[in-house]
Structure formats: C-alpha cells, structure tokens
Point group: C2
Chain length 750, copies 2
C-alpha cells in the first residue's frame, strides 16, 4: 500500500461512528473530549517546567567556540547533548556518517585592473563580541563545494545572478562568457548563482553582501546595531542542492563508512566554477571600478556609487583550493518508545552544527528543542507514556547541505517510510511572530496549537498575533479573505533546513516552526552570530525560545498521544486548488505576454522605444505559448475536495469511535492518515532530479530555498518546455488522485 | 457670454453643413482639404528653414553668464532677443514689471551637536565646465521667498516632507514641533515642504538632494556623467504657489510700477519659517548624526548610512537673511497681426530667466521658440499672412514663481480673456520622446501634429515613438487599452511653468510641450546647468530642439490659420469621465480603508502587530467616510458626452462649410470653441484659493507642481472635508455643464 486513501479512511470512520453520533465535538483534534482535558492539564505541567535560564546556559555552552561539522567542538557539543538526553531518560544513539566536507587551503582574490586592490577577506575581532576573536578555530569566509580553481577575468555585475538577470544583460548585449560574475546575495539561494553563471559561460563567481539587502540600509551595523558590518561575510554551501542535498558522494544512500561513493570528480552537485563570498567593504572597490551601462534601477544596491554592469575594466584574479576531506558527522538521536503504537514515530529535529559560533543559527532553535525534550522527559519519568514513539534529533552538518539529516533519512528510508508519521523541524529562531510552514494536512492542527500558546510580549495567543500582523499588513482588498479563513495559512516548504529529506524525499508530513520578524539582523553565517549578538538583538530573555518549546512541545505531545492522528484535508485541497489556479494563470499570463511581445517586436516598437545611443537589442521572437490541458489537475482536485469533505464529515462524528476499535485498526487508520503525504510523491521523482519525490512541494531548480509548488508543472511552464507539460500534468494529477482514492486494505467506498 | 456652449455650436454647424455633406473628410483638423494641402507645403518650407546651428549659437550666447531676473545679463538677454524678434519682422514690446525678488545676504548653516560641522554650501568650479567658475555673478544655493530667520533646533528627518510623511512620524511618536525639519527633494514641489513643516510646528526647514533621487544612484555624476555631483545644490522658489503664483505683493493684478502692493509682512505666499537647500555632501554628516527610530524603508536614500528619524541628537543652527528688493522683470512680447481674425490670438511662450546659466532650463526651450519664430517670420515676409494673430513671448522671472507670465496675464486679463484662443508653452527640453500636456480639447489636435513630425534619431513620427514607449513599458493588461485609443493621451497640467496663469487663472486652452526621457541628469537649478553640460548630455546636436520647433511651429501655424479652430470634445469628455471614476473610487477606497482601520484599532490588532520594544502608537479612530452624492457629476458628464458626440458628427460634415459663412460668424464660432475652456472655470475660483479658477485642472494644494484634477472635489475628499463635498461637487458639475450647454448667442439646441 502506497497511498493514503482518504476514501478508505472515510469508510472505516463511517462504520465506527454510527454508535457515537450523539457525542459533542472534540475540543482537541484527534483527542476524545476527556482525553483532551487531560492533555491540556499535561501541557500546563509542561509549561511550568520550562526555564529560559536553561536555554541561555545551553546557548552559552554550545556557541562558546566554533563548531562546524568535523570540528573538535562540534563533536564535543554532540557528546554533551547526548549525555543530556540520556540524563533526561531517552535512549540515545550518536549516529556517525562519513561525509565530504571541503575547507579552504587557498583563498586568493585580487583586483589587478584598472588598479590593484587586495580585499581583506576577513572579519575583524570586535571588543564588544567576546567570541569574534577565535580566529584559529573559525572557518574563514568561503563557499563549501566550490571546486578548486584559478581564474582571471573581467568582472560583470549580474545582480542576484538568477536566469532573469542574464536575460536583462543579454538585452544590453552583455555576456559573462569567459568573465567573472559578481553577484549580490539575495533573490535566490546562494548555490543558484554559480550554477547559473556557469551555465552562461562564466569562469568564476564572487558573491557579496550588498548593504541594501544586508547591511546599513537595513539598520545600524554591528556592534552598534544588529546588522551586517562592512567586513561581515556570509559563508555557506553552494552545492547544487535542488538536484539533491546531503553528502555529494552518496546520493540516495546513507554515507556510512562502507557506503559506495562517487569519485569527487563525478559528484554532480559540486559547482562547475570556483566561487567565493566577500563583504561589501571588499566588493566596493571592484564595483566602483566597473564601467559599461548603468545597472537597471532594481539592480542597484546601497553602496555610494553608480552601479555599472561592466564587463571590466575591473579585472580580478580568483584562486581557491580546498582540502577535500571526509569528516565524521555526529547525529544525536534520542528516543522514547510509544506505549500503544510504538511503530508510529513523531520525529522532532534541529541541527547543531554551525558555520562559526552559530548562536542564532542553529543554537537558538536547538536549545528550545532541548528544553522541550527535557520537560517531556520529566513528564515521562512522572508516569506519562504517549501512545506513539517520540524521536528527538540533533543533526550535524546541516550547514554544508543538510548532510546529517539527509544521510540519516537515506539510511533509514525503509523504516521511516513505514513508521514516521510527522517530522517537526526547527532551526534558528528569534523574537516576534510564529512562522509556520509545512504540509497542509497539518495546517488545522498547528493552528490549533498556536491558539493555545500565549505570546510572551503582547499577550493573546501566538495565533492571534500572527493574524493581527497579517491583517494590518494586508491590502484592504485582502483583509476580508484573511478574516474569512478560520486558520492562518501555513507556508509551503522549499528547502533550507532539515525537513527536506523527510518531506520531499520520503513524503513524511512535516512542519517547520520558528519565531521571527522582530529580531532582524545581519549575523547570518558570520563570525558575529554569537551569544553576545543574540542576547542583545535576538531574543535577549529567551522568552520566544520558551514559546517555541511550548509550540513544538504541544505539537509533539499531541501527535504522540492523540487517539487518531490530527490530519485534516480541507486545507490541503484548498491550497492545492490555489496552486492549480496559479499555474493556469502563469501559463495564461505567459501566453499573453509572449503574444504581445512578439507583436511589439514585429512592429519595431522596441527599437522605437529604445535610446539609440545606448547599446542594447530588442528581445527575440519566442514560440507562442500553446493552450495547455489542465483538466487532469482539475479533475484530481475535484476528487480531493470531495474526499476531504467526506472525511471531514466522518471525522466530526467519530468522537470516541477510536475506543471501539482495536489497536490494530487504530494503527492502520493512523498509517492511512499519515501516508496520505506519501501518496503525493512518486517513486521516479521529479523530472531531472529523481531524489525529490514530492509532487506538491519542492525547492525551485532555479530558486534554491524558494519553494515551487506543483513543481513538475510549474517549472516546465516557466522554462517553456511545452512538450513536457502533458506528462507532468498527468503525473501530478495522479499524485493528487492517489491521496484521495486508493485501493488499499479498506477498499473503495460505497 | 461666459461659456462655450457646444450645443450652440452644433446648431450653427448643422445649418452650415447641410449643403456640404458629400465632401470627403478633411485631412487636417480645422482646414478644408485644399487648404490643408497648402498648409502642408508651408510646413515643408518651414522645416527647411530650421537650423540646429542657430539653436546652438543662441544657447551659447544666452547661457554665457548667469541671468536670473534682476540681473545685468538677464536684461541683456531680453534686449538681445527683442532685437532679434524685430529683425524677424515682429512688432516687439519689452514689457516691464516691478516684482519682489529676495536674494541672500546671510546663509548660515552649522551643526552644533553631537559634533560641529560646517557645510560647504557652495558648488565648486569645475575645469570641465567653462561657466561654473562665474562665482561673482551666481546666485548661491538659496530658496526664494523663504522668510528671514535665525533658528537653532534638533533635526528631524521628514522624508519628502509631505502630509503623509508626518502621519508616519506621528505613528512613531515623533513631532517636529520646535524642531528643524530635514526633507529630501522629491515627492512634491519644494514649496510644499516648508509649508507643511510650518503647519506641523517646525521652526526651520532644510531641503537636500538625496543621491537616491538626484545623484550617483541614478547615474555617473558630473563631470564624468550628467547627474548631480555631491556638492550640487538645487535652488528654487518656495513661495506658496498653489495659493497664487506671480509677484507675492500683487496677487490678481499686474505688478506695474504704480500697482497697489501688499506690505511684505502681509504677503501670504512667503514661507512661515526659514528654509535652505543643501547638497548631499552637506546633508550626510547631519543625517549620519541622527538617532531615534530607523526610517521606514521607502524613506531611505542612497547615502551610505542607516537613515534615522531623530529628533536629534543632531542640532543645527540655521540663519538666513535676504535683500528684499523690488527688481524689474522684462517680458519680450513679439506679435504678428492676423489677416482675417486679428482679435483671435495664438500665444506661444517660453521663459528666458534662469537660476544660474540655465542652458537646459530654460534656454533649450527658448532657442527652439526663437528658431520657430524666425522661420515663421520668414514665411510671413515671403507673403504668408495667417488669419489669426500670433504672439511670441519670452518671459522673465519664471524661476521665482512664474512672475513674468503671471503679471502679464493679470495685467491683460480682460483682453486675453476675450482674445486668447490658445497658449502653447515650452520650457527646458531634451532628447527622447515628445511629452505633451494640456487641455484635452486640444488632445486630438496635438496628436495630429505629432503624427506629422519625424523623430530625428529613430525615424517614424514622434507620435509613433511615444506610443511605442508607452506600449513597451505598459503592463500586459494595459496594452490593449493603449491600442484601442487612436491618440496618445496628453497629461493634465498642474503647475511648474508659464501655462499656469493662462490655463488656470483665465481658462485659456493651453499646451505644454517638450522632449525628454533620454537626457536625464542632475543639473536642475544648479551652477552646472551649462552649455557644456547640455551639449554633452542634453541634446548635443540640437536635433530635438529642431524637432520641438517643428512641433510647436506646426501647432502655432495651424491654430493661427485654420478655417475653424481645431478643438475637439470627445477626449475632454472621456478624460473627465476618467477623473470622475477616480474620485468615486478614491472615496470608496477611503471608506473601506477607514472602516477596516477602525475595526483593526478596536480589535487591538495594531498593538498585537507591533514590536513592543519600538516606540510607536496605533493610528487613531477616524470618522467614517460618508456615502457621497456624485450624481451631479455623472449627469453633467453625460451631457458633455452627448454634446461632444453631436459636435463631432456635425464637425465631420462641415468640411468647407466655413467658406459659406461670413467672417463674423466664423469668428464667433471660433470664440465659442475656445471659450469652452473658460466655461470650465468659475469666477469665484477654487475653495481657499480664488486665484485658481479652473475646475478641472489645478496644482495640488499639497503637491505643488503635481496636478489635481477635479480639484475642488478631489482635495475635499483627500482632506476629509465631508461637509464641503456637496457644494464642491455641484460647482464642478456646473462648470462641466456650462461647457456643453450654454445660453449664449446661438441659443439652445432643438
């Protein structure tokens, strides 16, 4: 059985609920009313156990020294956490994986024309930041999985370096062929920039943090304020993560010591050209030296110069060499066995490795998970045993590309595919509003949780605060739509944290949770992401850290102990309906735009509208956008809507029905519920990238972290691959269908 | 008779056209076919006479030295032009007005805290700019009609300094009461900034050019490129021009030597607080010293700092004193008498005074007018005598507030009200696209002219080029609307050049014409607006200067010699219809926004959505927006639409009908046509500002140059003066009605 079969679910519920039709509606999803009351009492106990001082102390300890994967202190941290989890009563394993993790041997960048300039390439220690001077243990500014390279060439400023930017350059007659692309951070995940630059023929790529997006334009810079100071450098991975995340040498399998590995030269996710990140102080002289056309207005940053595109006369020499080491990643896996349905797992994770000291990213989320686990452990020792198994995970090697979680998921794929009901992820978290993303089958559930957690600054629930923000910020015409919706929408997940292997590789329903919006700053992946920075500008009192433990603790405990898993399908159907509308509109808009542009080209309008003294050419005629057959999607959606509605009606009458079923039936019912998410995947995966199997959510092939929903359909349209559309629509429609109609153990309805 | 009475016009045309129904449509508006052919031949002759070298030579001469009103060289220029007009066969008068024109005695600005800083307040001479060193004759950076003052206070950054910006400050708990407002140029006419600052209690105002809007963000700065360099200062008038333009001491009457004058202390258009313009190099240390909340994102400019709002700790001392002199303005008025209808005048003007050397503003437009007048003069000497009188005007004292034109119009109001058929204005002009604004009764006419002038760079007509630009830049959904319209829309006129007294004080149908869009730069009102700058970055070959002479020459000659004046009313009705929709939508949007905001306030949503660590307060409850009665406007519009349609039908059949009428009837018909514009005015003027009499177009009371259409209605809505709305709707509706239905000499229709 592969799919979740809502129809089958409905049958069993209709049978089971007949005798319970008089009971009042349950006040907590998945719980009978009496058990819900009990659960709320437990949650009050749980809240009372949470201590902000624990979070503060652990953050101080875990961020005291740099701790990337493979480092001495990273291993120390893993052992420290493992010991704590044991102390709290968990059964703990430290799972080890052997992963490729290059670190720099040579980092050379110099401008050789029109004048010489040697960038600093380093973040100065600051007296106001007590860990910023740990130079010996810091990884300097570099990009993991850049290839080795030694290139010299003219510079072209490529804005964010996404495909659209190169189209704009092309219209101005500028190519990066044989040049070095200088891109600013933002607009896409960083790994997209060297990928696209290489596709366009560039020989090297430099990525800098423009103060417009990440520096003084946003706010006062460190140490006066929270934002990136002039020498701050954003480290990061540039592997081709949208192809597959994890260890580049072991796609699809766990990177155990005996795993079969690709030769480094054949690893497809390494960049094709050398890449290096720099600060805006280092970028300024290079950008200032560029000539050629003035950059389009939206490309201009906040440096005090006129932004030009080049190419040249700035010429830079970029040389990078790496130690291509295999290092050990340490995942800490702590488990407490379920009492009744131990073969159903609620997995809860956060990574522990950091680029440098990583107080915000990831320790702020890690310490909330730890406090949650500690309190859950105390409840368990006091006698509470949830029905399902809870697994707490502290992942290593997330920063270079979700390695710890991915290798674990790949290694345990068969077991997880069968047993993992839900994965709940956190990562760096701050102060402000609850941000929730994830599977829309869990939208109603996580909203219910958010209604039960109090905002520590303002009062009211964290649900209310997020809704108030959405209402205040919305355009007037949107506000009624927001009010009409019972729940706050949760965001679709692209990538950028450890939920990806769970959700997109295995089809495990996932949530990604965090607080933010009032703790802006520019410490991301720099040496200034420190305890000092976080306790001044992040969440100084750790009150939102505690709130995050309250949200995630509730979610974990309710999922672990519910009579029936609190999945719901109306929001899924509604949300997919919105995506279908979007892709239809995307095709229609492209059709109109293409027709109109072709007509304008034919009329010579671009020539007439252009300044003849400026270099540039009119766009080229493009093939018309055909009318596409979206009917399979519409039909699949209609089925899903009906099934969701029927399930809802059945579920509303099922209160207490659980108890009239045997454990085996209840377990099977749960499995059908959580395997609905599996039904949305296809074993063959997405076109071009079989590792990604989810047909509703994927990181964009050209956006990276940014999600593409209905990716097979949407990306084929965006990339004008008309011949692929029909097949991709069919496959996506089949995935949606298989979530609503299956042929498993309970058979068809009626 | 006060109104134009389209209905009356229709009657006479229907009578006259009966016998001419078989003739083909005329190929030129207002001309019988045979005369149209003749006119086109004349225009070809006219084109052949135009010489770019004349424009270049005159620009060199007129911009050789600074020539503001009251200067030696300004007077020299007036005499030089007068002599040329005489040489070209015109009857010339130099009309003199005695006007208030303050120039600075003391300009002191210093920052006294948190550290001392003495701004430079001067534009350095540049070796690349041969006139930039004429320091002795230059007016330094200052604002005309600032009052004298000596103030010291904390600085508040107020963005553009428009009312909306103060609402934003208020929400952050910041007041300018007793402070000095630091505003950037842009977002409104400069005179609005000290006006609003004073209304809010500020004691002084500084206006600087931010490089985001006017400097290196836009392009390379002078002398490398065309844009404002760090010390460039924008001079300008800060009189309360939306109250009335012209000499502050003689509102409504010509400032002749014997005119009755207000005491300076009672002149209502002087500022209430001292004001001074500065460069961005001078603003930077002050802005950098500000603390307090970070400015909202849209307020931040391109200086390399975090923009804060203050107040303080920056404290500045601002002291300005002026010589409050009465100086003589010299208007050059050159006339050639009409042969058949000499009592009908086509007036064509451009100003000649400049803040400094003024090569672009105003000489680029002035020399195009001169070349046009020279060629028209030659045609006249070769025997062509147009039916109507042509008056060429070179205005003085436009820069301090349209003084030359306004005093002339006020002095000759009675005669102009009777005789002036059309006013055609130009001012600084550049390279690129034809920009046309004006009375929509002339929209079809000026489009016809634009179809007959060839673009000098790209070929095709200047009409086609402007349309191509509009199509290329439009959103896809807007393109079909553009294509569906035969003519390019002309812009409604606010203020900012000498058409204002003609159009908005007397109701004379006006056009404002110029080229631009490819000659961007930052020389405006600086010492670098020079021959050197203009011939590098403006219109180096004066080919668009010649094109401007072709457009304006055609317009002037056709208007002067047409059988019937080429007015048309369908575009007027359509355009006013658009304005009516806009004000209805404005009220509806405000009603919804007010309702929603009040509800959000009541729910506490603003408190929940705000960061409690940031100062700020929720907006206050506002009175609900009542439902307004727009029916009078709709009814008036419906009448205008019908009348315009009937007139159109009659006009299409009238070809040749002119010749069957006597000259007196033809003259009366013309007068009815051009007095349609008078019908759109009301003698009492607009609420609060009786000088402005046009009920369709006015400069905004809080935007300055920016137009407000249907101003009595629109501004009452914007300012939430609900009790004034009904009366203002009525008056506006009456004005629209009186343009379509009159009770004049031809009586009512039917």
């Amino acid at each position: 059985m592969r799919s979740a079969q809502l129809i089958g679910l409905i049958s069993i519920l209709l049978l089971a609920t007949a005798s319970n039709a008089q009971q009042p509606a349950a006040p907590m999803m998945g719980f009978a009313p009496d058990r819900a009351a009990e659960q709320r009492e437990r949650e009050a106990e749980f809240d009372a156990k949470l201590s902000a001082e624990n979070l503060r102390g652990w953050m101080r300890r875990l961020s005291a020294r740099p701790h990337p994967v493979g480092s001495f202190y990273g291993h120390e941290n893993a052992q420290y956490m493992a010991a704590l989890f044991r102390e709290w009563g968990y059964s703990v394993r430290v799972e080890e994986y052997e992963v490729l993790f290059p670190t720099p041997k040579t980092r050379l960048l110099e401008m050789t024309a029109p004048e010489r300039f040697a960038p600093r390439l380093a973040e100065p220690p600051l007296p106001e930041d007590s860990t910023s001077g740990q130079i010996d243990e810091q990884l300097p500014g570099y990009h993991a999985y850049s290839i080795d390279g030694d290139v010299t060439g003219e510079v072209v400023y490529v804005n964010y370096g996404v495909p659209m930017d190169y189209e704009e350059l092309e219209r101005r007659g500028i190519s990066v062929e044989g040049k070095i692309a200088l891109a600013r951070y933002g607009g896409s995940w960083r790994g997209i920039k060297p990928k696209v630059a290489a596709e366009r023929g560039a020989i090297g790529c430099i990525i800098y943090s423009d103060p417009r997006d990440d520096g003084y334009f946003q706010g006062d810079v460190y140490p006066k304020g929270a934002y990136r100071m002039e020498h701050g450098i954003q480290r990061g991975s540039v592997a081709d993560m949208p192809l597959y995340p994890g260890d580049p040498l072991t796609p699809g399998i766990g990177a155990t010591s005996d795993a079969e590995r690709l030769p480094i030269a054949e690893a497809p996710t390494l960049t094709k050209i050398p890449v290096m990140p720099i600060s805006y102080a280092d970028a300024l002289p290079i950008l200032r030296a560029l000539e050629g056309p003035v950059a389009p207005e939206s490309w201009r940053g906040a440096l005090p110069i006129t932004y030009h595109l080049g190419p040249g006369p700035a010429i830079v020499h970029l040389k990078v060499e790496f130690s291509w080491d295999i290092v050990t990643a340490f995942n800490v896996i702590a488990r407490t066995e379920g009492s009744e349905r131990p073969e159903q797992w609620i997995v809860r994770g956060n990574h522990h490795d950091a680029w440098v000291n990583g107080a915000a990213d990831p320790i702020s989320g890690m310490v909330a998970l730890m406090e949650e686990a500690r309190a859950v452990g105390e409840l368990a020792r006091a006698g509470w045993r949830p029905k399902r198994t809870i697994v707490y995970c502290a992942w290593d090697a997330e920063e270079p590309g979700l390695l710890g979680s991915t290798e674990w998921v790949e290694r345990h794929a068969a077991e997880l595919g069968d047993k993992a009901a839900v994965y709940i992820n956190t990562d760096g978290s701050g102060r402000g509003f609850l941000n929730a993303g994830g599977s829309h089958t869990l939208e109603a559930f996580i909203n219910e949780v958010a209604r039960d957690v109090r905002d520590p600054q303002v009062g009211g629930s964290v649900f209310e605060r997020a809704r108030a923000r959405d209402l205040v910020n919305a355009a007037p015409a949107e506000r009624e739509k927001i009010r009409a919706r019972r729940d706050n929408p949760i965001a679709a997940l692209g990538s950028g944290s450890d939920y990806t292997p769970f959700l997109q590789h295995l089809g495990i329903a996932s949530l990604n949770l965090g607080f933010g919006g009032e703790s802006g700053g520019g410490s991301y992946h720099s040496a200034y992401d420190s305890f000092d920075h976080y306790t001044r500008f992040g969440d100084p009192d750790f009150q939102y850290g505690v709130a995050l433990a309250q949200v995630c603790g509730r979610a974990t405990m309710r999922l672990a102990d519910a009579d029936a898993l609190p999945f719901e399908f109306a929001a899924l159907a509604e949300t997919i309906g919105g995506y279908v509308e979007e892709v239809e509109k995307l095709a229609d808009d492209m059709r109109r735009e293409t027709e109109q542009t072709n007509r304008l080209i034919a009329e010579g309008a671009f020539v007439k509208a252009a300044d003849p003294t400026q270099a540039g050419k009119a766009p080229a005629i493009r093939a018309p956008v055909p009318h596409l057959n979206f009917a399979p999607l519409e039909n699949a959606l209609e089925r899903l809507r009906r099934a969701a509605k029927d399930y809802q009606a059945a579920a509303e009458r099922r209160s207490g029905a659980e108890s009239s079923m045997g454990v085996e039936v209840r377990s099977a019912l749960d499995a059908m519920l959580y395997k609905t998410e599996r039904a949305l995947t296809r074993e063959e995966g997405l076109p071009v990238r079989p590792w990604f199997k989810h047909y509703i959510y994927a990181p964009g092939f050209y956006t990276g972290y940014g999600v593409k929903t209905l990716p097979a359909v949407r990306e084929a349209i965006e990339q004008r691959e008309w011949s692929a559309i029909d097949a991709n629509v069919q496959k996506t429609a089949q995935a949606i269908c298989s979530a609503s109609v299956g042929n498993g153990i309970f058979g068809r309805r009626g």
